[in-house]
């Protein structure tokens, strides 16, 4: 019997995708889990990511960047094991409340509809350990670029 499953997991691909994107690396983003239906990522609080110097709250832009990249990864998990380049078409984020100073932010992204050209994604963020009280929700679309050798981006 031959095993046709790829020699790498969705988490492997997401981690290689993360490593290839310098801005996400310098933000300190980490991938926690990667399943077909959802990707979880984490962004530790850091003093250089603060948006409000009076409160120490992390900037919405840093949270947005993690949510955007996690959204792209959720598409990768649907197209797995094929890797595609998926530029964002549009993205809306609602900031429900500010995360506490010092708290890492965790997000979960889910591609709930995949068509031949467009992926529809929902993303929710919360403070680590406080999953029941989201700090931000996002809704995004990504387009699927079927570029030959796109997998080289993640070393496939």
């Amino acid at each position: 019997m031959t095993d046709s499953s790829p020699p790498f997991t969705r988490l492997d691909v997401c981690n290689r995708f993360l490593e290839s994107v310098r801005h996400s690396v310098v933000l300190g983003m980490e991938v926690i889990s990667a399943e077909e239906t959802a990707v979880r990522a984490r962004l530790p609080w850091r003093d250089d990511l603060v948006g409000n110097p009076e409160t120490g709250v992390m900037h919405g832009g840093a949270i947005f960047a993690m949510m955007d990249h996690a959204g792209g990864m959720s598409v990768t998990c649907r197209t797995f094991p094929v890797f595609e380049i998926t530029p964002t078409i549009d993205f809306r984020v609602d900031h429900l409340r500010g995360p506490a100073k010092g708290a890492a932010v965790v997000c979960e992204a889910s591609c709930y509809r995949l068509t031949p050209h467009v992926a529809f994604v929902r993303i929710t963020s919360w403070e680590e350990g406080n999953e029941d009280a989201p700090i931000a929700t996002g809704l995004a679309t990504y387009t699927r670029l079927k570029i030959d050798k796109a997998g080289q981006v993640v070393g496939q």
Binding site: R22, H23, G61, A62, A65, P87, D94, V153
Partner: protein
């Protein structure tokens, strides 16, 4: 360190360079945001910089870095143009990606579409080659402080 409100007042009166206000926000320094004033017009600059790269093969800017730059441009714009005494809270931020962001300097300008008592609606446009060809446009709502 002087209070944020003092710094904003000094910037608005011309006593202090706008860049000092931009640099007061750690995330703005992290991205390397600059502000250029021509008369009353403010143009924000995201200088090309390895740390804002997303796709390494093109190379292209990270959409999240461009979004963060535009959100912060709008926040500085509100502080300088409207005299908000505190950093406004972002309620929502919606961005359309129209063109690839190449690895070069990016510029942004802001326009207040509607300013209510508590909420401001701001339009932000970002470009690289010329402002008639934006790479992204965004719309955001901000919550203003009560004692503005």
């Amino acid at each position: 360190m002087k209070a944020l409100k003092t710094l904003i007042d000094e910037c608005r009166s011309g006593a202090t360079d706008y860049q000092e206000l931009v640099d007061r926000v750690p995330y703005a320094r992290f991205l390397g945001i600059q502000v250029v004033a021509q008369g009353d017009e403010l143009t924000f600059v995201l200088p090309k910089n390895d740390n804002v790269i997303g796709n390494p093969t093109l190379p292209a800017l990270h959409g999240g870095a461009v979004a963060g730059f535009m959100e912060q441009a709008a926040i500085i714009f509100i502080l300088l143009q409207m005299g908000e005494p505190r950093v406004p809270k972002t309620i929502d931020f919606t961005i359309d990606y129209l063109r690839a962001g190449h690895f070069r300097d990016t510029y942004a300008e802001c326009r207040i579409t509607r300013q209510g008592r508590r909420i401001a609606n701001v339009h932000i446009s970002a470009w690289q080659k010329n402002r008639q060809e934006p790479i992204t446009i965004a719309r955001a709502h901000f919550l203003l402080s009560e004692d503005a």
